[in-house]
């Protein structure tokens, strides 16, 4: 076990580029330097080592070590037979437990789906496995991806590898922690309001929410369909680009999927940032930042902006006022869609069922017992927002705010190629600290705009606070602007302390 504690009692893994990156592993396995089985066993042993040392970060809902080992052996046999094993040959991966996996329980960390085994694979799972990746397990999340700390899980909270007394962020906390702890070099999460980028920041890894429609949602259990996007967690920007090149591009099973291939991010990764115009979002940075931003977070963002300027980018501060209104719009639109998306969990066909005197009573009892508090809160909020008489004031108005926001970002992007902000207003916070839902919701202020606009954003680790807790910086790009986004992220990665 190669753990290098980075803070008191930490269990974060310091990656070795050859052994711990997806590209490094795939290159070695493809070249026959390492077997897929050997790689998989090594990573599985890290999981076991933690468990044996009584370090339970509660990352996995389900470990698929046996199936993974069998898949690794099958891959090795294919390589021996001269087959092309794929671009992610032998790369162990973890999947957020809201991604459907044929034959493997998929729960959304909810009691209501406990025991449900999908008869099909999500498109991203098919594509990853088709490229030779090997699934280590399904990771914990805030129930149905509703939350920012992974504390809203029916199976207990996931702990931050950098400090097990702190949250990993959420909702994809399990997937972020899986990479940070060195269990896998690549995991997938879903991002509806920051659920990839915020935990990436809090766990000190790279996390990407690509443009809406650039990665198929088929097989992603919906939270809010117009906002949900799947994306990767990795140690490096290059790995994130590689994984998106594999999972991205058109899928006929998702009507909202883009009609083209994923932008050529790998080809332009090393193009540098000279001449790129970067706007630092005023509302989220420096002295003009809203209340509630930790000074060290603001300082790291300023440092990142300075570093980019030093590397040749044209950096300026720019105001994007609708950023703030986005939060309110988000907390209308996302629950509204969720209230409809989560209606199907009624106890009739699958999942948790309680007895009732009639069908309606059975449905109500099953939902009452099966859903956790936060999920119920959002279903009620969303139901209310869509109700006759309130529709226009809530859902309708939120959609209009969204339209205004998209226009405002378009205007800003007329003068800038990219935008910059912190990923999260704060570093990883102690478990149980943010018990008030409103405090927790405010934590998403930096990440929500990209979901409402459908635009891509990435969180790149950029140093730590005094206590050694990771801080992430977010780069945002216009719709489909992944090439510039990755160029800048790759440059920032090299500039990070």
């Amino acid at each position: 076990m190669s753990d290098t504690p980075t803070s008191g009692g930490g269990h974060a893994h310091t990656p070795d580029p050859a052994l711990d990156t997806a590209s490094g592993i795939a290159a070695a396995v493809r070249a026959g330097d390492r077997s897929a089985e050997e790689v998989f066993r090594a990573h599985h042993e890290r999981v076991l080592a933690h468990t044996e040392a009584d370090v339970d970060l509660n990352v996995f809902n389900t470990l698929t070590a046996d199936e993974g080992l069998a898949a690794a052996r099958a891959l090795d046999a294919r390589i021996a037979a001269g087959d092309d094993p794929g671009r992610l040959a032998g790369v162990p991966i973890a999947l957020k437990d809201n991604l459907c996996t044929r034959g493997v329980e998929t729960t959304c960390s909810s009691k209501i789906l406990q025991g449900w085994v999908p008869p099909y694979d999500a498109t991203v799972v098919e594509r990853l496995e088709g490229a030779g990746a090997i699934v280590m397990g399904k990771t914990n999340l805030d129930e149905f991806a509703m939350g920012s700390s992974t504390e809203n899980s029916a199976f207990g909270p996931t702990r931050n590898p950098h400090d097990p007394e702190r949250v990993p962020g959420g909702s994809s906390g399990g997937s972020a922690a899986a990479v940070a702890a060195g269990y896998v070099p690549l995991s997938l999460g879903s991002d509806t309001g920051g659920s990839i980028r915020q935990p990436a920041a809090l766990c000190g890894v790279v996390g990407v929410k690509p443009s809406y429609g650039s990665v198929s949602r088929y097989g992603l259990i919906a939270f809010a369909s117009s906002l949900d996007q799947i994306g990767p967690f990795t140690h490096t920007v290059a790995d994130a680009a590689l994984s998106l090149s594999v999972i991205g591009g058109h899928d006929p099973a998702d009507s909202t999927s883009i009609r083209s291939a994923f932008p050529p991010v790998l080809q332009h990764l090393e193009d540098g940032i000279e001449g790129l115009r970067v706007g630092v979002i005023g509302e989220l940075s420096g002295d003009s930042a809203l209340e509630g931003f930790e000074p060290e977070v603001l300082a790291r963002t300023t440092a990142a902006a300075d570093a980019l300027a030093g590397a040749g980018a044209k950096v300026e501060t720019v105001s994007v006022p609708s950023t703030v209104a986005g939060l309110s719009a988000y907390y209308m639109i996302a629950p509204a869609e969720a209230s409809s998306n989560l209606a199907r969990y009624d106890g009739v066909r699958y999942g948790h069922r309680e007895d009732g005197v009639n069908t309606r009573a059975m449905m109500a009892a099953s939902r009452t017992a099966g859903f956790g508090e936060e999920v119920k809160r959002r279903i009620m909020l969303g139901t209310y927002a869509l109700s006759a008489g309130y529709w226009d004031a809530f859902y309708g108005r939120a959609q209009r705010v969204r339209t205004v926001m998209i226009r405002e970002f378009d205007e800003v992007y007329a003068n800038f190629d990219l935008l910059l902000s912190p990923t999260s207003p704060c570093v990883a916070f102690p478990l149980g600290e943010k018990s008030d839902p409103m405090t927790m919701y405010l934590n998403d202020v930096c990440t929500i705009p990209s979901n409402l606009t459908g635009q891509p954003a990435i969180s790149v680790p950029f140093g730590t606070d005094d206590g050694g807790l990771p801080i992430g910086v977010q780069i945002l790009a216009p719709y489909g602007g992944e090439v510039d986004l990755f160029r800048a992220a790759r440059a920032l990665e090299d500039l990070a302390p």
Binding site: C100, Y218, L220, S255, R344, M363, L386, S387
Partner: protein
């Protein structure tokens, strides 16, 4: 679901495509007799038709009636977590064709979710269209002359079927329920009329005409008994001549045209009784009870659903191009209304035209008439002798030839009927069949010789016939038929008989 609408019609016939004075007109005497003369019935219909596609509306599962429960299913139409809908292009095409046949504007449209909990609906919401449906603002001209305006015709998905295992077969006191999702996700079009119908008979006429259009387009099999065509009736009544729209009740569970008529009449009378008692009907959904011959309330008001419609974020708008719409318009078959008009123009009366349409023999009949066959004989055969399987594949040229043989006296009516039956089963030409059957046309002079012999054998009868005892004509014709074993053409015999009488 239909928005309140005004019955006031503005505009002129040329811009509307129909004569406004034909809207809301009552054409059926029976309809006027359901209520006392100072009241009139106001009906708007919502017709759901299952579209005849290979696969379901948003899922690759097969669209097929029946089958073992839960065998025509797929993760998508079962609404399994993580699945996403993809629109069936064929369903959109058929829906747009229906819209064009109903004179609708086919427009950019979006899908919406209609949210309510029900066990036979896998997602607990139905994907339908609410704002911005595919087809709007059309009309249907009824054979009897009136016009029914179409508010909209939108696409949606069907639900599954619940079987409630309990004494009443109703969900309230079921011990348990079984659900079959074979039908879940089957493509539907919902055709919503304005409240332009004035009674049970007109409502039935509308549904029959609509059904004929759906079948003609190949969009639906239109089978009410299998549930592929379902009708909900919004019924209200008002003082005759008034323009007001009073509180309506939506009557569901109407499974045949006959039930539709009965349900509307019953519901109208129920409203009348309420008004006469100084009460008012409540706006509600009511179920037709076929055995009891009455409607009873469905969901109570407290349980009234708020469907919380919102645009389905899993689907993108459909934007029909003008070129595509014109392509579809050009591909439409000749519709029943036009076919009926063509039949009448060719010499059919209304009844014969309907029979020809019902039997799908209008094309055959028209082709035969075109080929020079006598129209009256053609429609007589269609009405009386062609209600058989295979008639629709009869060769029109052969059919015309048969009628000509009959007209020129080569075949008697009895012989022609026999030959026609053989034509349907063998596909052979009528002359060949007649020859095979020995139906040689008898030479007129040969017949004249035979007739003279018979006259000579019956001098008394001949005397009385010539003196005006007309009924004796039958005796001579009968003798001729007997002598020729039925092969003589009755017309020729009669003609000869008259010639002999006139020269006697």
């Amino acid at each position: 679901m239909s928005a309140p609408v005004s019955t006031v019609v503005t505009g002129d016939a040329t811009s509307l495509g129909y004569d406004p004075s034909t809207v809301g007109r009552s054409d059926h005497a029976e309809d006027g007799q359901v209520l006392p003369g100072d009241w009139e019935i106001v009906v708007g219909l919502e017709v759901h038709a299952e579209l005849a596609t290979e696969t379901k509306m948003f899922s690759p599962a097969r669209n097929h009636f029946g089958g073992e429960p839960n065998t025509h299913v797929h993760p998508v139409c079962l609404g399994l977590p993580g699945t996403l809908p993809v629109v069936n292009g064929k369903a959109v095409e058929l829906s747009a064709k229906i819209g064009l046949a109903l004179n609708c504007t086919v427009q950019r449209c979006i899908f919406a979710r209609k949210n309510y909990f029900y066990p036979d609906m896998p997602k607990d919401y139905q994907i339908s269209q609410y704002e911005e449906p595919l087809n709007v603002d059309g009309f249907l001209s009824l054979p009897s002359g009136s016009t029914v305006r179409i508010e909209r015709a939108h696409m949606e998905e069907d639900t599954g079927k619940s079987t409630h295992m309990g004494e009443s077969g109703r969900i309230h006191d079921a011990g348990y329920s079984l659900v079959d999702y074979n039908r879940a996700g089957v493509p539907l079009i919902e055709i919503v009329s304005h409240p332009d119908l004035r009674g049970p008979e007109q409502a039935k006429e509308y549904v029959e005409e609509l059904r004929a259009i759906l079948v003609a387009i190949g969009a639906s099999d239109g089978k009410m008994e299998e549930g592929s065509l379902r009708v909900d009736a919004n019924v209200s009544i008002r003082p005759a001549g008034s323009d007001e729209l009073r509180t309506r009740c939506e009557v569901k569970n109407v499974n045949s045209l006959r039930s539709l008529g009965r349900a509307i009449a019953h519901e109208a009378k129920r409203h009348l009784a309420l008004y006469e008692a100084g009460e008012r009907p409540m706006q509600e959904t009511r179920h037709w009870d076929e055995e009891g011959g009455k409607t009873h309330p469905g969901r109570s008001k407290e349980e009234a659903e708020d469907y919380r419609y919102f645009p389905d974020p899993d689907l993108v708008p459909i934007e029909p191009s003008p070129e595509w719409i014109e392509e579809l318009r050009a591909s439409l078959p000749v519709l029943p209304q036009q076919r009926r008009a063509a039949l009448v123009a060719a010499g059919a009366d209304a009844k014969a035209a309907d029979l020809a349409l019902d039997r799908g023999l209008d094309g055959l009949a028209l082709a035969a008439v075109d080929a020079g066959a006598d129209a009256e004989r053609v429609f007589t055969h269609v009405a009386n002798n062609l209600a058989v399987d295979g008639a629709e594949s009869l060769d029109a040229g052969h059919f015309a030839d048969l009628v000509k043989l009959e007209s020129d006296g080569s075949l008697s009516a009895t012989q022609a009927k026999q030959v026609l039956a053989e034509m349907v089963s063998s596909g052979k030409a009528p002359a060949d069949i007649a020859a095979d059957l020995g139906f040689e046309a008898m030479d007129t002079s040969e017949l004249a010789t035979m007739l003279d012999a018979i006259i000579a054998d019956h001098p008394d009868e001949w005397q009385r016939f010539c003196e005006g005892e007309g009924k004796l004509q039958g005796v001579f014709v009968g003798q001729m038929m007997k002598a020729t074993k039925g092969q003589a053409d009755g017309k020729v015999v009669n003609q000869l008989l008259m010639e002999r009488k006139n020269s006697a």
